[in-house]
């Protein structure tokens, strides 16, 4: 390794906080930081395939502007010059937004998502767009029309989904930060299986403007990072009221950065959800989860077992509500105003062209969910399916309300199992849906939720995540618990979990 390569290897392992500090003090330039990550992407992304699109020239140009601002003594954001990977479901002008679908291949959005605009306003450097399951429907990225992303811990395995590209990019040191979106666990489940941090803010905490909608009542953008403080700083940047999103909450962003710095759980009441464990959970997942709970107790948290009896109905309710919303949201992909158009021969009617376009442009899982949604919303079935699912949603919110009247946060494993093999579950949609068992309740109720790495399962050496759930607008509590766990675990391990990431093959 040349001294130059050694320096670059060191840069990509820095946290976002350390990168920003070095860039601000001009010990390191934003251009150098960006170049080191672009080189890393060139080295390993052939194997990982976290990115669908990288624009190195544009990233270096924005990094150059950040360096110039700092040189001129201008005030810059706390993450100025730090490179970031953006999930390819949020619009960013000048770069294609595909949503992992053939129906939007090459489509250039005419405006920036609010999240994107905030990143740019805060001088964060966007490297490119990350891979995802088509329109965020999936738990493995195998549903991407552009091929799967691979887990940096074992490239035969899935990185989770739908935000597998964002989580893998962060885990593989291709970017210190990424943006994900979470509809049923698409930030938290990939974080869990890649050994990274992922946070779903309270619904309405970050803007959905410019996020291509899957299920509008559930979708929520959030931060992906390698450390809890990095995630908190990114959360602070992207969150807050946006008049362009009518479901955006007009209240101050909880002090997530202060909470991540405090890392204090002394006296905190932590509820363990009894329904999220037991049968179907891998032994290594349960073992690492239980150890982490014991660790919280040793840090002064009071551990209380809590029952949320309706959580077992969250999965079936979700797989009615989500398809119902997605079947109507995806009706706009009709081949008329944007994206693909198939069969427009001058004879075929608009309806025929629509049907041919949607047949050619959508993948199998998208079709499955649109058809289920169409069924659940059709007259005669509406009450039995969608209507009942909405009632279950009420019951799940009541379970949360009841629980949060006794405890400050709830915890569970983030996923029942560790990363599975690519191809293992593609023909069994129901088995695939089980990956979101623990994460879905927080989407239905809209409360804040996060996944933090708590070790490797002894049986397969793959990462395990612990999920923390907090009441709406108490996002800061997630970070207090996450940071406390991180500090205690890293001191026990003598480093971070990702220090144990196997060497990637490289080009």
């Amino acid at each position: 390794m040349s001294p130059q390569q050694a320096a670059a290897a060191e840069i990509i392992r820095l946290t976002a906080v350390d990168l920003a500090t070095k860039i601000k003090s001009r010990e390191l330039s934003a251009v150098e930081a960006t170049q080191a990550h672009l080189d890393r992407i060139a080295d390993v992304d052939g194997e990982i395939h976290a990115f669908l699109y990288v624009d190195g020239e544009r990233a270096l140009a924005s990094a150059g502007r950040v360096d110039a601002k700092i040189a001129a003594g201008e005030i810059v954001g706390p993450l100025a010059g730090v490179p970031l990977a953006l999930k390819d479901i949020l619009t960013y002008t000048g770069a294609p937004t595909t949503c992992g679908s053939k129906i939007l291949e090459g489509w250039l959005p005419p405006y920036n998502a609010t999240v994107t605009r905030r990143l740019l306003d805060h001088d964060i450097v966007i490297l490119g767009k990350t891979n995802l399951d088509e329109f965020a429907m999936g738990s493995s990225t195998e549903n991407s029309a552009y091929g799967p992303t691979r887990n940096p811990w074992d490239s035969d395995r899935i990185p989770g989904g739908s935000g597998g590209g964002s989580a893998a990019a962060v885990a593989a040191f291709e970017a210190p930060l990424a943006i994900g979106t979470d509809t049923g666990g698409s930030i938290r489940q990939p974080a869990a299986v890649t050994g990274t941090v992922g946070v779903k803010p309270t619904y309405g905490g970050s803007s959905r403007y410019g996020l291509v909608a899957l299920a509008s009542s559930l979708d929520q953008p959030g931060p992906c990072a390698r450390t809890v403080l990095d995630a908190a700083l990114l959360h602070q940047v992207i969150a807050g009221h946006d008049p362009c999103d009518s479901t955006s909450i007009d209240q101050p962003v909880p002090d997530v950065v202060g909470a991540a710095r405090s890392a204090d759980v002394a006296g905190m009441k932590v509820g363990v959800v009894s329904e999220l464990g037991g049968e179907g959970y891998a032994p290594g997942v349960e073992q690492r989860f239980n150890q982490a709970v014991e660790l919280l107790a040793s840090l002064g948290a009071e551990i209380i077992e809590v029952s949320c009896p309706h959580f077992v109905y969250a999965l079936p309710a979700y797989y009615l509500i989500l398809p119902a919303e997605c079947s109507s949201n995806l009706a706009k992909f009709d081949g008329m105003r944007f994206g693909l158009r198939v069969g427009d021969d001058g004879v075929a009617s608009a309806e025929e062209v629509m049907a041919a376009t949607r047949e050619a442009g959508f993948g199998a899982e998208v079709k499955r969910r649109i058809i289920i949604g169409t069924y659940a919303l059709s007259s005669g079935y509406y009450e039995a399916y969608y209507g009942q699912a909405q009632k279950v949603r009420t019951l799940i919110s009541r379970d949360f309300d009841q629980a949060f009247s006794n405890v400050e946060v709830l915890v569970s494993p983030s996923t029942p199992i560790t990363a599975f093999k690519i191809g293992e579950k593609v023909d069994d949609p129901l088995a695939m849906y089980m990956n979101d068992l623990c994460t879905i309740p927080s989407n239905l109720a809209g409360n804040a939720s996060a996944s933090f790495p708590v070790g490797l399962a002894p049986e397969d050496g793959l990462p395990v995540g612990l999920q923390v759930m907090a009441p709406p607008l108490a996002d800061d509590r997630l970070y207090r618990v996450g940071a406390a766990l991180e500090a205690a675990l890293q001191s026990a391990w003598g480093g971070s979990l990702l220090d144990r990431l196997p060497e990637l093959a490289g080009r």
């Binding site: 619904y203 025929e352 199998a364 289920i372 069924y375 009632k391 949603r393």
Partner: protein, 98 residues
Amino acid sequence: MALTADDVASLARLARIELTEAELEVLAPQLDVILESVARVSEVAAQDIPPTSHALPLTNVFREDVLRPCLPREQILAGAPAAEQMRFRVPRILGEEA
């Protein structure tokens, strides 16, 4: 309940997706399993429980009724599959009998 390939074909017509015979054969049993599993929601929600459509209890978010600039027409049409005379060009929308 047993969803047939014909049932799926008529749902696909409603959803404007022209599925192939092969897709219908694969989808029908898959959807059947999924629908059977999600039907469990009726076990608990039979009582008189209000439905929740949205996590936030928000109603009618208003803004001032003032004109704001919208995106330039060229920029919108640039992403269209076909444009003509500064408009979206679409296939015929009326049937033969019209």
